[in-house]
Symmetry: D2
């Protein structure tokens, strides 16, 4: 059996996420190599490329896509740059792993959907990496098995120790709760039909302009109700938990585990300080599975449709947050390509 060469991946965007994906493909993942990196900052692109064997540096995605070394794209540039890169990728008919969001707004996402339909086959996987977390995968399999009957409610908590400068209330929906939006759609296999946001008197530990924490409520097409605590300046660490309450049982993931210590009058353990230790394996698994599927010539994982639906619910969520009112979401009909 002849030896299949590794998948040549161009990583577009070399910020925190992009650089981490470069490291992942270069050191962790099997069957792929970083063939090219792209960044508008030419120096930065060169610096990152220089650390990787056989890696070219570009400032334009199109240039990388034109390289015969490039078999697939991993888009990790800022959200507003995604649409253009995706449309170019379709022009080269290249497989793409696109970091979330697919696009920052549902209108752009719809244009991507339409372009992918014109192409005639799926090419995009969206980076909702929680679907690759071992705990969420087990929760999904319990729900799919129907062991406890139909899921009726999800209780979710999503906490960050603190926010970087410039973090806004809208980003609490678009950057943070977007994960619970995808989690809800994926776990329940239902669409989110309405969003309501309750805002307690904010924590004094949060920046003055930020209404933090908030309680976000989803209603779904199958009649489930979901509550999400989003608290991005909780101070004590990074926590993501989800309990699914079903007709005859409940299942919960994200509880603390790991080393249990006893000392100085206390028992317990440590809380990770950001998403890196919490979801490192999920990121690895996501990229490995994308590489594996791509080498097999298939597309799996969250689709452009999932990216579009998340963008639409985010838009409703931001409205609900601003108005204090229950806001319904209206999706276009699901195209056959994503059935």
């Amino acid at each position: 059996m002849p030896q299949q060469p590794p998948l040549g991946v161009a990583v577009i965007g070399t910020g925190r996420m992009g650089a981490d994906h470069v490291r992942r493909i270069d050191e962790v993942i099997h069957g792929a190599r970083v063939a090219a990196v792209v960044d508008v900052d030419a120096e930065r692109a060169k610096a990152v490329a220089g650390r990787v064997e056989g890696c070219a540096a570009y400032t334009e995605p199109a240039a990388a896509m034109a390289s015969s070394d490039v078999d697939a794209l991993l888009i990790a540039s800022p959200g507003p740059a995604h649409e253009a890169a995706l449309l170019q990728a379709f022009a080269h008919d290249l497989p793409v792993l696109c970091e979330k969001p697919l696009t920052p707004d549902p209108a752009a996402a719809l244009r991507v959907l339409e372009a992918e339909q014109r192409l005639g086959h799926r090419r995009v996987q969206v980076g909702f990496m929680r679907r690759y977390d071992a705990g969420f995968m087990r929760l999904k399999s319990v729900l799919d098995a129907g062991e406890f009957g139909r899921p009726l409610m999800l209780h979710c908590q999503h906490r960050n120790a603190s926010t970087p400068p410039g973090f806004t209330s809208q980003m609490m929906i678009n950057d943070s709760v977007v994960h619970e939006i995808d989690t809800t759609r994926w776990l329940l296999d239902q669409e989110i039909t309405a969003v309501t946001v309750l805002r307690p008197a904010p924590s004094t530990a949060a920046p003055a302009h930020l209404s933090d924490p908030q309680l976000v409520l989803f209603e779904t097409s199958g009649g489930a109700v979901v509550d999400v605590e989003i608290f991005v300046n909780c101070g004590f660490g990074y926590q993501v938990r989800c309990e699914a309450v079903c007709e005859s049982g409940s299942a919960r993931t994200g509880e603390e585990a790991g080393l249990v210590t006893h000392s100085a009058g206390r028992w317990g353990g440590t809380i990770p300080q950001d998403f890196v230790p919490r979801f490192a394996e999920a990121y690895d698994r996501q990229v490995q599975r994308w590489v594996d599927a791509t080498r097999r010539g298939t597309v799996e994982g969250p689709s452009s449709w999932d990216g579009y639906a998340a963008a639409a619910v985010c838009e409703a969520g931001v409205t609900a947050q601003a108005t204090g009112r229950r806001t319904t979401t209206e999706l276009v009909e699901r195209p056959a390509l994503y059935a």
Copy 2:
């Protein structure tokens, strides 16, 4: 020092709760004895009295109150009978531990409040026994110490294995969520100002007429937001949990504890099947503390005001449940007696 005789208690109502209080005073509690039992069913009253040393049986509360053996009352009759018994107790100036609800509706509760004010001193403790649960007491003390800053949210779950025949959606508020209403008011030391109820597609395990589970949301005078899962046919047991999310930390009570076993491919433990094992110690502690305070000539614990406020929030909750709308609560001004 001369020996103080035990407190002679008349237990009014000898149904499940009343009979259990008779047993508690007769076998568990220190410093009290059951001097009389009252039940409209004379045979039942006699049967219960016959199991207790020196206990008289009556069919009318007033008759028991007139007895020189009776120093205090424990009202465990059905809610609609409470108002009359409380007003009679005031006439005899007797201390009362009144099982919740104080009265079934806020108008009646207001009449009780007014009568107690005319009496000029507090005589009533309402049976919100969760305030005497070790876990909730520890949670309260953590919040009062302000170690983690101001509480911003409470996440509550309240689950029963199943409901008896005749259990209605309104009872989910009046009989079940009423505990979270008091817990919220007590833990936060704030009033509940608005209630919203979301109703997922009901479990097929619930009776056909019952919209079970529901998600009940409170907003409070201090700007906190509280979510309560009420699920009265969850099938697997009785569970009451509460997590308080504060500005720099969270604290959770009600997690499973007890014997951990490993067998047949599973680890874990058992879930109590009803409130008796879960809150047995809280009931004991509640009655013991009431007896102790009464013998010292004081009144402690939840007051008639707490009973009134709970009734008012329940009324709003039932409206919110029926209409699907956010419903505000309007309390009368808090009388000085309950300051």
Copy 3:
């Protein structure tokens, strides 16, 4: 039904344990009162008696036993005084709850056994209060039910934050491990036939003369093996845990429970600092059940035989500790009275 008067208890010894039993009977337990206290220190006896209604003070146990107010004895004096008090109690044919140890050595315990046999009926319950801890009771019931087959091993940990001045290595066996000795005998319903003690290089946190911690091993008449970590200067709190490993499952009690908090990068809870919060309910339950049984005219709970067997195993344990050798225990034949 005529009202049965409360059991009049004389508490002998008013040190820490005795004073706590006085408080327990005076304020917590149902159906008993402290009729007398006895202490060689007359001032101390009077001071304690003065806080209790209708309580007399004595300096001699015999004087208290002669009082018509005294129906039963709770012996909480130092161990060396137990034998004399017990023999006097037999002379008055009074029921006794005797704090552990029954006597400090097996020879004295044998004399008590013989005297009780001459009396012709059991009068003594020994204060092995772990048998009344809810967790250990559940463990016992799981083992007795045989759900997981025969118990093969017990893994025990027994930790104290620190020791008072004068605490010796022998006391690690006689005062601390004696609880695991009784726990083992009770849980397994077997006698301990051999003891081995391993002594790691001691903790620098322990007093210089104390070989702390130690690993104590029991072999039992039914072929079980038990390991006990005894660590009396662990620094972080009081912990008692026990895991029973059976043929098809294991069951563990004593794991941390209670309020779980998240703050400052850590999750977890607090560890009690001494045995009082850990076993308060067990002490209450022990005395309540002794009072209940005594009023019914029966004797239950750990017997003089259990006190004798514990003393014999302690003696072997101290020898094993001193010699580093496996040391067998030899019990007299079990008298019919204790069958």
Copy 4:
């Protein structure tokens, strides 16, 4: 930077472990490929090689070592074949990851040690993969940091659901407890100086000839004491736990985690049925780190010395098991190469 080719690995032995390593290198690990497989069963070797791109099949290790495609060896053949393969590897100066045991007995291990010393540099990493388990790694780092003072005791449990036909009491030491032998040496950075084995009356669930479970005790050069429950027919699953008790705190790894469910009156989760899910990540991390170090031209991880010491303690353990006596271990002086 020129692209470094993947490390060409010859996997020697294609049984369960070997085949799993082939899959791991072929599908999971970065930077390596399976260049050759070796098995005395030529058909089997060919079948395995046929599933991997560019992989040759051999029946003799020496033939694979002679191939220019082979840069390193992973020895997964039966233990008795290890010595010969290792000596050949030294002749080719090839890096080796050798599955445990290094050799079945200390005499053979000594010959390997001597040959490696003649070679003049370390070439061997032994497959004690627990050192690569995230939980054990965290435990090690806590101990190394000395946060809780010096470790005094380890409490270990090692349980298998059941044993395959032919599993003997000696294999309980050589195949199972060997992991705790290495864990003890690694966590404490001390040698094991004596072994004692206690054998409870065996479980009726174990095969008739097998004394299962056993309690194995280690004493170490630094004065620590270690107890190991080895129970290879516990029935309920695969469990590996370890608690390190230090001077001012304890730390425990291996507690149950993962999805927590509530249903049918029970809370809890599942127990893995064998070592694969429990240690899958440790195996992956072990091989990845070996590949990474090898490509950097270094040797890390457990050495031939660790393999020799484990073999010597196993020998003592088997004697202790057979005789019921405390058995001391005598190691040769540690050669400078392994300092």
